[in-house]
Subunit: 220 residues, 2 copies
């Protein structure tokens, strides 16, 4: 497995002890996320927008229904930055200074390529769908030619990436720990699915399919 | 209340029916979030990083312990873009094309100002702390002069902002709804605090303080 590339901008300078260099850590963060934040430069100024994504091997696919203008700006081989962040908890230190968060974070830099070939777009859209709603690609109606044409999909190589992970209790000053007067610890944060809400226009006897019920039932 | 500014880049073009123009909607999204994604331009390329933030009136404060280099780059009055996104659920359409997400999203554009005055930095840091861990500012030890000097805080005016919110069931093609053969609906997503995990170095008899227990107990 190729380690994460040590280019200048993908080298972690702050919190070096939180940096990971194993590509498996990158995959794990990306595979656990649901949305990403895409950064592009428009007229010399940064623009950040949330959007959906999916991964296939070392390629990240970005969905273009949000921020289509930004995707066009970033599209023609322009540089983009993509961040996927999972917040795992609030770290309560004994001092305000040592308050922190537990998180898993991946940041990717690269040139985004807008997909034009129908087969390539379909593959990218499938990766995005599999990330957002596993099982939907084979269950729901596939895109028509017209729908596919109306969907922008970008691909981005994962070569230049960095991963940072913080976990565990606060790291406080020795004096504050020894004083023993202030509570410190972690309040863990989780994502939780509640029961599926059927569309009001469905026939009354149409059962919720297994790929949706299982996601709700089998959550951590 | 001043409405959100209709500048070119803060005018929503995609999903116009999802755009909100009331400043109260902006405040509600920002006040409900825990982390933001900060976009800066470094050597002409975009860079996106997650960080903590807080709001006081129409000023957003950004914490600088992560991405300090990027904050320096973006710091000297440089343009930044900040996004706060809350994911509320996965929208399962009858077609892949009409799969979507329910979300609340705020994007702010502006010039970030690095705070240098100690009082201003303290006020900014308090806003960030109040956002991340309400109650900690008065409970935990306040920053020393040295700690304050080691903390970067940026301020950003909220004038140029946009808000988008999607909620409710999928919006499908009439033919797909009429066919009545494919399940569609929403799988709602929530954030959930689990029980506080005390630091292993705490005295055994030190109780978890009310601002932490209440956050766990009173969650939605």
């Amino acid at each position: 497995m190729i380690p994460l590339s040590p280019t200048d901008r993908s080298t972690v300078r702050r919190g070096v002890n939180r940096a990971r260099t194993d590509r498996a850590d990158l995959y794990a963060v990306l595979d656990a996320g649901l949305i990403c934040h895409l950064g592009v430069t428009v007229d010399g100024a940064p623009r950040v927008l949330p959007t959906c994504y999916g991964r296939d091997g070392d390629t990240l696919y970005l969905h273009g229904s949000t921020g289509a203008a930004s995707l066009r700006e970033g599209g023609a081989g322009a540089q983009v930055s993509v961040a996927v962040t999972l917040l795992d908890g609030i770290v309560y230190g004994r001092s305000v200074f040592h308050h922190s968060v537990n998180y898993r974070s991946a940041v990717i830099h690269g040139h985004a390529t807008p997909l034009t070939d129908a087969e390539a777009k379909l593959a990218g859209l499938r990766a995005v769908t599999d990330q957002l709603s596993p099982g939907s690609w084979t269950y729901a109606r596939e895109p028509t030619r017209k729908e596919l044409a109306a969907t922008a999909v970008l691909s981005l190589d994962l070569t230049e990436s960095s991963v940072k992970i913080r976990s565990g209790p606060p790291v406080d000053e020795d004096e504050d720990v020894e004083a023993g007067t202030t509570w410190a610890g972690v309040l863990p944060l989780h994502q939780h699915w509640s029961a599926p809400e059927p569309c009001p226009l469905l026939p009354a006897d149409l059962a919720t399919p297994p790929h949706v019920t299982a996601r709700h039932r089998d959550q951590p």
